[in-house]
Amino acid sequence: MITLRKIGLVLFFGTQMILIIFGYFSDTKYFCWVPYDQISLYSIEVKVDNRFLSREEIQARYRQPSTGRENRNIENLISIIQQYESTYGAGQSANVKLTYQTNGKELKTWELTP
């Protein structure tokens, strides 16, 4: 017999499986059970109105430290910055520069310009 509980359980586990498959093909890794799939050391610089934001301002802006270690895919951090700048910070025309080193390989830079 199909009960509400059974439907809930199928949805609960089915969604997780779909998210794992989605995560496999996607750069951002959310809800797909992958902690420590890669490690990046990073630093964020943000310039708004020709002024560089302080560490505290960057922390308040993205709720992420301006420098630190990302224990999941670096694309997760990029998605946070992108989402902020395309929504709450859309009118501010910020220049964002993210410098990161993933798994000990060469330094890379990702930039967002207005």
Partner: protein
Amino acid sequence: MGVNTLTNAVGARVLALGLFGFGFATELLRSDLPFLPFIGFFDTIPIGAFNLCLGLLLIMSALGVLFNIRLRTSSLLLGLTILVSILSCKPLYSTSITLISCLLILIGLGLHGFLLRLQLSIVYFGASVNKLADNDWWNGAYFDFFATDIFHLPFYETIGQLFPGHLTFAKILGVTTILIELALAMLFLIRRSGNAPILLGILFHGFMLVWTKGELSVIYFYVMSIAYLLVYMKENESNRGLAKVFLTWNYRENKKIRLTYEHATYLSYALFIGMTKLPKIYRIVNVLYSDL
């Protein structure tokens, strides 16, 4: 109290306490939500009203779990509250907290042994599948960085020198991790595997935690330990194996110590607090050792 209720109560309580111990609950109560939500809809809800609702739900359901008031409903509500708060704020996302939320939801939906095994199997499947496609896990780049630049693993370089070729040891560690996670995903699905996946999981996570001097996600180890304990207790309900041990422990023949679920909860919590102090303890030992 029935053994089934006891298991749920222990599990839900330790998970709820973990939420406060990890600082997630206080972070949630302090945060202005929604903020950069996963689902755009959340941005249409006024911040004040949303915060008030989430805060009230979190406190009420946590109290319900801690004081065993409508345990399953409280557990489901607490799990859903956490899930909604994560969905409403991308920076709040954490694998460990999401797993706590899932376990609480399962307890709320009427947890039984196989559902828990299925949940753990999915967790390990996700972890291994995503690593399978990542070259850095196969060529040793990930583990070498992890061991030398991030966690400074003791004996890593010494052991590595015993192997021929560049990064051979790192490659072995990377591939072994993937294989262990795949094995755990499969073993948890097979009921006949009994306690084998639990033992393998404890050895795997425990070894990594000790090798990283307690710096690698203590929270994850804590949550996994609770999940393992729940599987073990659930599967021993019929013969009241561990549950019986949990309730009464014979100590020196005639002295009997009754270990109620309340004690079990707080003992587990104390164990967690002890584990979070491991890096500090290690540093103190290291300083003392270098002074000698």
